[in-house]
Symmetry: C2
Subunit: 400 residues, 2 copies
DNA sequence: ATCATTTAATTAATAAAACTACGAAAGTCC
DNA sequence: GGACTTTCGTAGTTTTATTAATTAAATGAT
């Protein structure tokens, strides 16, 4: 990326919004201080964002943060616009799609306003899906959005907005869901890999934690890395996929086509399968599993699976130089001893544990916050368009 | 990092030098084209770098690259200064230290001009080392360098210039080697983790390959990641350490304090140990190992070790979204079947192998090129000094 | 109640860096 | 030798952020 003056304004604007997302509420002066820019600059950016209705002034708010002062003229506090929905968030689940109208600021809670079940038996599931979308569209208060953000599990090419591989929602691979959404709502459509959205959601709610690996356990097992406060982006449309690391000695077939993946052991169905194998007489239900583990602690079959996943995670931590794992999904829904064991196993393999603390925390899934973060990053602040800069000189020359 | 006009010039200068390192030789116009900047800008930057003697004009050279044209006024070709050494490179090995005077451009070959063995038995090994440095200094043609770059194996805090942990050169941990160098040569001293230097060296010689994981096998086992043409930098002073990922079922003690690390299986000594265990009657020498493998192919004991390392690497590839592994060190010194087996094992665990090509190539170690790359990046172009920008406003305020 | 103090926000002038446009220089091709 | 093409440098413009100075709005002491 080449920098010219016309571009750097955007970068500072981006930094300011990011800071404001961290602080929640801040004044022009506070932002300037935190970012190391001059007050006139911060003021000018804020004014611009106010006219765009991306920010709004907040009345009764007091300055928070370290620099809380009582003296002097009080700053006019600012926040990301909460008064109106800016984005439409859509979560494509395995059997269900959920939708929510999302304002730019403050979506701590995971309240999805609409949902419908998929009709996988339909002749054309994608068409049926689009029809249900239209149905929802009628019920929405707002017609117009800054953008629509769709989160999808599996392997996703976010820039090309294509679903490359989705073992549990196969029908979504051939369908161009973004195009379908574009037909229903007249707004730019963004596609996000699900775990990346979860990681960004965690980041929004814990803005101080700028480096971690999020590991999500559900129908599948996957993850995402936040590195320096930003999602680790990748040359390939694949990343965070520790769940498809093979476990030596494990021979279960995985949905991805390989054999022995971590996912076959620790996905919901994988856990139940192992549970059933270890306790043939019990009903292999999630409730029974919870009860069994609550009574007996981490049984050997589970310990082995956790050890294997921990090695894959530790390998990633060691290579990336991270020290924090955030666990979401089904593992957080089992007795706490399970997560304790898992934490210990990760620490055992993470090299940094020999020098300092390695943390492994559990967290609820925070999709909405993540979807908003994606929308802000990619729509409000169209950061890098290297084509634009490069194309102007290089491309025309080449054509010629 | 906050951007103001005074800063962005550096970024473009950095981009230009990087491009020139890629191309080897290029004209002002060619650089402007490649980088998408205007010709006046490129010209101005080049002029500045010429007066600093970082670049030099080259006489008889023809334009190379895709855009080779015969028409029009021929461009004056430029290259990184080769006519005089700019950096002093020092490689701290286990038993030996090697030194080389390095020009900015063109150090394809690994010719080290000076070397000496360590006196580990000395009462004060660090002082003995410094003395030997002085000895070398007398023999050097050049007294004055832009900088001295020291590469060290182990765990290194590059910004603090401290060696935190070096299992094979323990005496280096307590000694402040950079300070010692600073006493001998009056120039800024940079510290680089060895594998990172190797990775940067590979990048210099293969500038088109911007994303890969380098895995080095020697006295220890370690690696480094190049991500988007830059070394993946890390919040912790630790990264690339796939060698210290535990292998389930392996109980060898590792120099790092843990048990079962990959390194205990695939370091030179680890390989010989396994070889000896598998063939008690043979002499456990490297030559014997080579011979045995050349005759018998990859034996089961080796296959197991390679499989384990491959899983750790695959986990990292999957999480990072990479598709290329560059192998250096002792593994490249064994019969080719070994690397073939290893490649296959990595492909088996790398998820991208199900969708496209995963490459695993071997390469010689290229330290000198890496040391130069480090010197250029950190000395000639002092990129990010967030303190500077931030401190001016924030710090003074706080003090006050 | 008034005034000094402190912090916030705005305005004006300055500096840095990149861009476009134009023209001179230095080759090739006919 | 002239037409053409490409390179390189100069001049003037634009964008952006900075510093310095000014106005605004609160607290606290006399």
């Amino acid at each position: 990326m080449i920098f010219h003056p016309a571009r750097i304004g955007l970068l500072n604007k981006r930094a300011l919004i990011r800071q404001l997302r961290k602080d929640g509420v801040a004044s022009r002066a506070g932002l300037a201080r935190a970012l190391g820019m001059s007050q006139p600059t911060a003021g000018k950016i804020v004014d611009e964002l106010l006219t765009q209705e991306i920010l709004e002034e907040v009345e009764g708010a007091e300055a928070n943060g370290d620099h809380a002062t009582r003296l002097g003229r009080p700053g006019r506090q600012l926040q990301l616009n909460r008064s109106q929905p800016s984005f439409l968030g859509i979560q494509l689940g395995v059997s269900e799609t959920r939708l929510a109208e999302l304002p730019l600021g403050a979506c701590d809670e995971n309240d999805w306003h609409f949902s419908f079940h998929h009709d996988a038996a339909a002749a054309n599931p994608a068409a049926a899906w689009e029809k249900q979308l239209r149905n929802v569209a009628k019920q929405l208060r707002s017609r117009k959005f800054l953008g629509v953000v769709l989160s999808v599990p599996g392997i996703v090419d976010e820039s090309a907005r294509r679903i490359l591989f989705s073992p549990n929602i196969h029908w979504s691979e051939s369908a161009d869901l973004c195009a379908a959404i574009g037909k229903v709502w007249d707004a730019p459509v963004l596609l996000v890999q699900e775990e990346r959205a979860l990681a960004l959601g965690y980041l929004t709610l814990h803005p101080d934690q700028e480096d971690f690996l999020l590991a999500d356990f559900g129908e599948g097992v996957g993850g995402a890395v936040i590195f320096g406060g930003k999602p680790l982006m990748h040359p390939l449309p694949i990343s965070g996929e520790f769940g498809h690391t093979p476990v030596l000695g494990n021979h279960r077939r995985c949905g991805c086509g390989a054999v022995g993946c971590v996912e076959t052991l620790l996905s919901t169905s994988g856990l139940l399968k192992s549970f059933a194998a270890a306790h043939p007489r019990q009903t292999a239900s999630w409730a029974a599993l919870q009860k069994q583990l609550a009574e007996n602690g981490v049984e050997p079959w589970l310990a082995q699976s956790l050890d294997a996943a921990a090695v894959a995670l530790a390998a990633a931590l060691n290579v990336l130089g991270l020290r924090r794992v955030v666990v979401t999904g089904n593992l957080t829904d089992l007795p706490p001893t399970v997560l304790e064991y898992f934490s210990g196993a990760i620490r055992g393999g993470a090299m940094w544990a020999r020098f300092g603390e390695v943390e492994c925390v559990s967290a609820p899934r925070n999709r909405t916050a993540g979807l908003v973060a994606v929308g802000i990053d990619r729509l409000i602040l169209p950061e890098a368009e290297p084509k634009l800069s490069r194309g102007k000189n290089a491309a025309t020359k080449l054509v010629k």
